[in-house]
């Protein structure tokens, strides 16, 4: 579904990604872990071109999206993204947050979008917040809404950029729960996270990044039980 070929990204003199190659199949749940500064967030943000790769190619459904001629807005409409800091639109109600993109991009009519939003809100248990503004919500609620907002676009893949890192500990669970449910529904997911429990439980593959490269990749069981590279062994010994 997504193919990454020889991806490089530099910020000034700082090489953040160095020759990353990867392939994501439909239905996979890829969990990306690694120390801070390893380039995992940048890797994720390159997938929907929030960061423009310095060089290399990214293919989505067979289309080269790194091509300057590709319609990046159309591509992004099919890729949901959830941010560490939620980034709900502060000037809009929850309902408007969810229906804005589907209606403005003419994917749905006003009524249809609202109905769809209510259905999704029911799924995450926040239907009574439809007319509230983001500032009145807790972090966990905001993040669940952010997930719903992405889902309202019926994306083919969901990207999660440390979705629980900015949450109070007691709110992490409710967000992970929604993500777990989403995974069970068959969504293709790429998740950058520090939640090793989530990686073990939900991931179909776990990817370890360090120094701008994918160092190791394996099924969750093997990944945690038999880490091969010394760098990963050291990392796991610190976080587990």
């Amino acid at each position: 579904m997504i193919t990454v070929r020889d991806l490089h990204k530099t910020f000034g003199d700082n090489k953040v990604l160095c020759a990353v190659n990867y392939h994501i199949h439909p239905g996979e749940k890829i969990v990306v872990v690694g120390p801070s500064g390893s380039g995992k967030s940048t890797f994720l943000r390159c997938l929907n071109l929030l960061e423009r790769p310095t060089s290399g190619e990214i293919l989505f459904d067979g289309q080269v999206i790194t091509d300057p001629k590709a319609d990046i807005n159309k591509v992004r409409a099919q890729m949901g993204m959830v941010f560490q800091h939620f980034n709900l639109f502060n000037n809009l109600t929850i309902m408007q947050n969810i229906t804005l993109a589907p209606t403005k991009l003419k994917l749905m009519g006003e009524e249809e979008a609202k109905e769809n939003a209510l259905k999704l809100l029911t799924r995450v248990g926040l239907v009574e917040k439809a007319d509230a503004y983001p500032s009145s919500l807790s972090g966990g609620q905001k993040q669940r809404i952010a997930i719903v907002r992405s889902l309202a676009m019926n994306p083919k893949v969901m990207l999660f950029d440390e979705p629980t890192s900015a949450l109070d500990p007691e709110m992490v669970g409710e967000v992970l729960e929604v993500m777990k449910e989403l995974a069970e529904s068959g969504m293709t997911m790429v998740v950058v996270t520090h939640e090793m429990g989530f990686a073990r439980e939900v991931g179909t593959k776990v990817v370890f990044m360090d120094g701008g490269n994918i160092v190791e990749e394996n099924t969750p069981v093997e990944f945690f039980a038999n880490p091969q590279s010394p760098r990963l062994q050291e990392f796991l010994s610190k976080v587990l």
């Binding site: 929907n48 502060n90 809009l92 509230a132 676009m153």
Partner: protein, 232 residues
Amino acid sequence: MEWLNSVWMKIEAAFITKDRWMLYLKGLGITMEVAIFAALIGIVIGTVAAFMKLSVTRKGKPSILAKIANIYIDVIRGTPSVLQLLIMWFVVMKNCHNGILVASLTFGINSGAYVAEIVRAGILAVDKGQTEAGRSLGLNQFQTMVYIVIPQAFKNVLPPLCNEFIVLIKETAIVGYVGMSDLTRVANQMTSTIYEAFTPLIGAAVIYFIIIKLLTILLGLLERRLRKSDNR
């Protein structure tokens, strides 16, 4: 009592005799007319200049439009507004006989430079994550600006914008330089009519003060209303 009587006589001479208060009122009219037109022109020019200044090339460098906007802002901020008025009046628009128009344009162009910086700062103050979220949903740059960034920037921009308007009201006092009878000039001329400076000058100052105080109160109310919608 005698003291009070003499004060009253001065006030009478400065404001009441021969319906002189009408002159102040007309002066205030000119002051406000110029200030309001200038503010409108300034907001239009300033907003355009702000977006020009924010525009970038595909490689992320400032565009040619940004450079033009920068030159405009630099020139306006780098020269005294009195001089700008004199140049407009005696050089650029010397064949135009509509004083209000020339003055409004001058102050509008002048104010635009400051408004541009206000609007630009207001837009930049909106968290980058808001733009990223909009773009990640497939909205284009324009849609993201219109539906998400600008409504939020508006709240940031309103207080400094009103401040700019207040500055503008007082700055128009320099139209006296080119012979327009605004509030300040009316008061100034009155001093030589009645051979007494204190009363007309203080009188004019009080009028400016009241107008601006009223504006400040209005602005406070507006701001409080805008902030309320934050926590509904």
